[in-house]
Symmetry: C2
Subunit: 458 residues, 2 copies
């Protein structure tokens, strides 16, 4: 299997070993920051400061923000004061604030010491907002215009200040720092008449968010309105920052991962899978496993209660896994569907009756078809093919009736619990598969033994 594996990582590794730095530089400058950062993650750590110094200033900053926290820290530890100042100067304020959130105290001190006073003030503004709030992810580098500016004045102002702004494509109109309008650069460029003022073309019905709004909510709003940036205002209606679409996309990705983790009974983590240590993964997973294991005591108790009856009809035991699993699957289908709809804002608590009615009808259809198929499956496979004579018609009837009732209960419970959780202020994602399964297990066993008592244990 001696084959070639020409990836950009391997090429750069080989060139680094051969000290061909000018060739490496020629390659790196054709690349995008995100791609260079990905290459750096694959290269031995002692080479990275060397390679990083090959990058021109702007590309260096673009690469820096895309790197993992570990590599960022490694680089900062190795930077001279001048180098550190240069990188910080090129970064946007929100990225420096993110960095400060992640770095150990001594590194934070060095960063703040080398940021210029204006940036230090802006960073402190961002850092004072609670984690996961709009204020904590905004940047203070936006373009603000005055309502009485002419188009030419506005364009000149944009051109003069653009270099430090995270976006210049949506401009915010303020009066005494109060946000009174919004205008896009496209709208400004489309104006033909030089006498037009910003107040003539701005949209005074500004959609904005508040500094303390949840970052997830803000990202959803931005996505709903297809904005390039969302303005953030404080209690007095003053414009304090903006959140750009790329940061909103990152927030949505993170929050969706969290939702998916919660649905699978995992405590959320900020770190990527490969970056997490085995012990961290263990810590994310063990609490729910323990809780769910202990709560399975109830199902055990139910079985113990019917132990004598089961001993007389051991054949019933063989169907317990199928009944529990199908109930669990039916319940998690409903809960996952509703959790996702809640998270996308397609469903809210006032839709509860609609949800129950929809789930009820889908459940009747599912329950009946599963029971029917199950009945024929038992007759064909278990009785005829496997020749299990203990599986009488009456046993089949008990199994299939349980299946139908369990599936119907599972779908209604699965569809309802996430909505109740949201109403009560809990995260609906927790009301997902594992939790629902534990409840449905108990229900299916009670129904099973109920039908069995009625039809078999007499």
């Amino acid at each position: 299997m001696a084959g070639h594996n020409v990836t950009i990582e391997n090429t750069i590794k080989a060139l680094t070993d051969g000290r061909k730095y000018s060739t490496i530089k020629d390659i790196l400058v054709t690349m995008n920051g995100a791609d260079i950062a990905a290459v750096f993650e694959e290269i031995s750590k002692d080479k990275i400061p060397l390679l990083f110094r090959l990058l021109p200033k702007k590309l260096a900053a673009e690469t820096f923000v895309e790197m993992s926290t570990d590599l960022q820290e490694l680089l900062i530890q190795g930077f001279s004061n001048a180098e550190l100042r240069e990188v910080i100067e090129e970064l946007y304020v929100d990225d420096v604030a993110d960095l400060i959130d992640e770095m150990p105290a001594n590194v934070v001190k060095r960063i703040l010491d080398h940021a210029d006073p204006e940036m230090r003030r802006d960073i402190n503004e961002i850092l004072k907002y609670p984690e996961n709030s709009a204020g904590s992810i905004m940047t203070t580098e936006y373009i603000s215009l005055k309502p009485n500016m002419t188009i030419d004045e506005a364009l000149r102002r944009i051109r003069e200040t653009a270099v430090d702004k995270e976006t210049v494509y949506t401009c915010y109109v303020t009066e005494n720092r109060k946000l009174i309008g919004v205008v896009t650069l496209k709208e400004i460029l489309l104006v033909k008449d030089d006498n037009t003022r910003i107040s003539d073309i701005m949209n005074p019905n500004v959609i904005s968010v508040h500094t303390t709004d949840e970052r997830e909510e803000v990202a959803k709003q931005l996505s709903k309105y297809n904005f390039i940036a969302m303005p953030v205002i404080d209690n007095e209606g003053m414009l304090v920052g903006i959140i750009t679409f790329d940061d909103a996309m990152d927030v949505i990705e993170k929050e969706t991962t969290e939702d998916i983790e919660k649905m699978a009974a995992i405590l959320p983590s900020e770190k990527g899978y490969l970056q997490s240590k085995a012990i961290d993964i263990y810590k994310q997973r063990i609490p729910w496993l323990l809780l769910l294991m202990v709560s399975a005591t109830f199902t055990g108790m139910i079985i113990s209660m019917f132990e004598a009856a089961l001993a007389a009809q051991v054949v019933l035991t063989a169907f317990i896994p199928m009944l529990m699993d199908t109930g669990g699957n039916a319940g998690s289908q409903a809960s996952v569907t509703v959790i996702r709809a809640l998270s996308l804002g397609n469903v809210s608590f006032r839709d509860l009756p609609k949800v129950i009615w929809k789930e009820f009808r889908a459940a009747i259809l599912s329950g009946l078809s599963l029971a029917a198929v199950c009945f024929f499956k038992i007759l064909l496979i278990d009785r005829l093919f496997l020749g299990n004579k203990d599986v009488t018609l009456l046993v089949s009837a008990v199994v299939c009736a349980t299946l139908a009732v369990t599936v119907i209960a599972a779908k209604i419970i699965g569809g309802t619990l996430p909505m109740l959780a949201e109403k009560l202020g809990f995260d609906p994602a927790v009301m997902s598969s594992p939790f629902i399964t534990t409840i449905i297990d108990a229900i299916s066993l009670l129904v099973y033994f109920g039908f069995a008592s009625l039809l078999l244990f007499r």
Copy 2:
């Protein structure tokens, strides 16, 4: 419970009943298209054409694209030819192509008949690409510049053509329609020297996608590079369209919903939950429920094989649900984590050894702690508190040993199967909870009866 419920929907409903159309118009023009569309979904259908006609042209188009397919069809059916032409003219080409994808044949014919020839050509260009490809979601309305243009010429060109372009903030430099560079409007505005040409400031290392690339892949690329738009090229390297960030955000939302649905054993659907009929929901859910139910025959067979032994030690039955559920939960934790990491591009097949090693260590930790807690739980709750004398020390040992082995197997299988599925070209999301659970069920029972035979059935 006679309370007030002053929502914008209710206000507009009341005003509509009172025929206060000029007041309604005053309200609507302050609103965003997405919000007006949401209000329309709540209002009785016969009123909508009337209210829609109150909207100014541009806002009408913005509202139209945000409405549900049903309402769009209703409106088009009621449009005069002139009205239809006016709305189509205001829409972007990709939105018209989307509309055509959704509408019945007679409506499609009317739309195409009333689109101008240039738009008809562009629509046909988009419609010829396969579903879910980059070509099928792109728009042909981008700004293209020539390399030898001066900054002034470029700016004039942008201002002249901007009105019809979906974005003007990233401009594409072409020569004989070949894509040779990219330049942002911000970069253009930052140039001080009037003699600068576009070729001096453009980035010649253009990141682009191909018309036949998967739309999901394209959306991820755009998000990775923080682009406002991603250029789409054909086989000859000709620029044929762009995909903007807002469409990429929609794609990511849809594809994530699909992933989540697949993880919960649901067939994906394009429709929202509340818009789906109960029968559609049934059809999305029943295939996997049936398949998983029938495959549970294996677990049933395993129990049947040990029926005689179980009859002698019925106490073992009480722990079956706990063992199966904990194994299933442990397995789906691992599979969901790996599926999400694969989908985000954080993990790929070559990381398989790393994943197995990480899961193995996390599994040992989880298996041992669960077994230890379970042992004390059985002694304390089942024996002491519930006084179940059948739960001997030997039974506890069998249960806890099974738990440890099952959890370890579950984590390794759960972490590995999604990666193998991806390698074999299947969707890894299908290798999730329900599927893994069925496999783990069988394994846990085999291990359980194995340990029981060794320690109890002698």
